[in-house]
Chain length 223, copies 2
DNA sequence: AATCCTAATGACCCGCAGGTCATCAAACGC
DNA sequence: GCGTTTGATGACCTGCGGGTCATTAGGATT
């Protein structure tokens, strides 16, 4: 997944017509598939295209994955779950104000997901959720719920410390994440439509600023 | 579009095998298509299913629409554009504080779009945007830009009146709308996953409250 | 009632893409 | 080198669904 692009296409000049590369294939296939899925959506993605991107043929794909849907699942599983795990490590060891923790988490999320190819995954999963309920359930359990739990702990910390006013934590979490997810969906939808685009960094900053003001405890109450 | 459901299915017992209903067909087709598209997405929707829902056969669809994509376009066009027009009328005639105007607009939006079948359209368009750039452009021009313009005027009003602090208006608009759009996408993706769901009304209220606190002018500066 | 017009039908066509498999040839062991 | 294993191929199969069209029949006109 996280390998540099186009691992397989180069280097076949004058070598044998193909090479045995059993170990490297799955990652290369998932890498190529992620690009295709994000670009065109699940249904519109042709396995033959994925195969070409991965430097193999369609038949080879079926040596490693039993179906198109299995590729889809593997891509989601392998690419996103590690990010969540990383976030959990971050929160576990944190000392400091809740404000700063939240700001750090949001910015970290933006750097590792929002700005990368991974930002396409939420859109992908949500778009296909009704056609692949099992995948949606998996994603919801392994990513959404764990992610919420993560940010929920930070917000609860802020309430406990008196930094934030009393809040419905689950709702507050959704409110914190909604603009982030929204923007990452946006990136893969309408960017081509308004070519000027907008300053996403500034948007995230504005969101953080506004949100933290909005949930701050009445003035002077912070510890 | 806005007709009550299942207009065509009933009333065929003992009548003739079919009736000529040239005037009613397009609306019934779009109505059925909206349901199918929202339920399954564009690619996974079979025209035969849409036809069945509309009480006709596939061949008949092609008397009224030249292609599946044309149905898609018509659905989006006919269902959403009127909502925008309605909003423009609302803002034009409004007298009162910017806070109240924004709260009214958001709640109105939620009632007419968020709570209805129309909430599926943003998801649909965004999911298919890369496969149908023309449609995406149309939607962006006729809905997104006009919608932003609308809310932008309300926010600018608040700044001018000293209710809100100085803001980058385009960003502030996106920030206001992101949670709304996000929730309407959510409704059509993960609802099946967490069956408890969450109180959307409360979410919108929390968002409005937090947002308005967050952008409020420093205390006591309002006129 | 006979006629015509056309809305509606449903059997059909066909291209496309998911999936299969007999065959080939890398590369490993001896 | 030589046989064997097995990763990789690409021609092939097949079902599905978008799109077509000759035919049928509703219902308006006379």
């Amino acid at each position: 997944m996280s390998t540099p692009r186009q691992t397989a296409k180069t280097g076949q000049r004058h070598g044998p017509r193909w090479r045995r590369r059993k170990d490297a294939r799955p990652a290369e296939i998932m890498d190529a598939a992620l690009d295709s899925f994000v670009e065109r959506g699940f249904a519109a993605t042709k396995l033959e295209d994925v195969a070409r991107r991965a430097g193999i043929t369609k038949g080879t794909m079926y040596l490693y994955f039993p179906s198109k849907e299995a590729v889809f699942q593997a891509v989601v599983r392998e690419s996103i779950v590690p990010v969540i795990a990383e976030g959990e490590a971050l929160v576990a060891g944190y000392q400091g104000s809740a404000r700063d923790l939240i700001a750090l988490m949001v910015r970290r999320w933006w750097e590792t997901v929002g700005e990368s190819r991974l930002s396409g995954i939420p859109k992908l999963v949500m778009a296909e959720a009704s056609n692949f309920p099992e995948l949606a359930k998996f994603y919801h359990r392994e990513v959404v719920e764990r992610g919420r739990e993560l940010f929920g702990r930070a917000i609860q910390l802020g309430i406990d410390r008196g930094e934030f006013r009393t809040l419905d934590v689950p709702l507050a979490v959704r409110l914190l994440l909604a603009p982030l997810v929204f923007v990452s969906i946006w990136k893969h939808s309408f960017v081509r439509c308004d070519p000027r685009g907008f300053d996403v960094r500034a948007f995230v900053d504005l969101h953080l600023d506004t949100y933290l003001r909005g949930i701050a405890a009445p003035s002077g109450a912070a510890s």
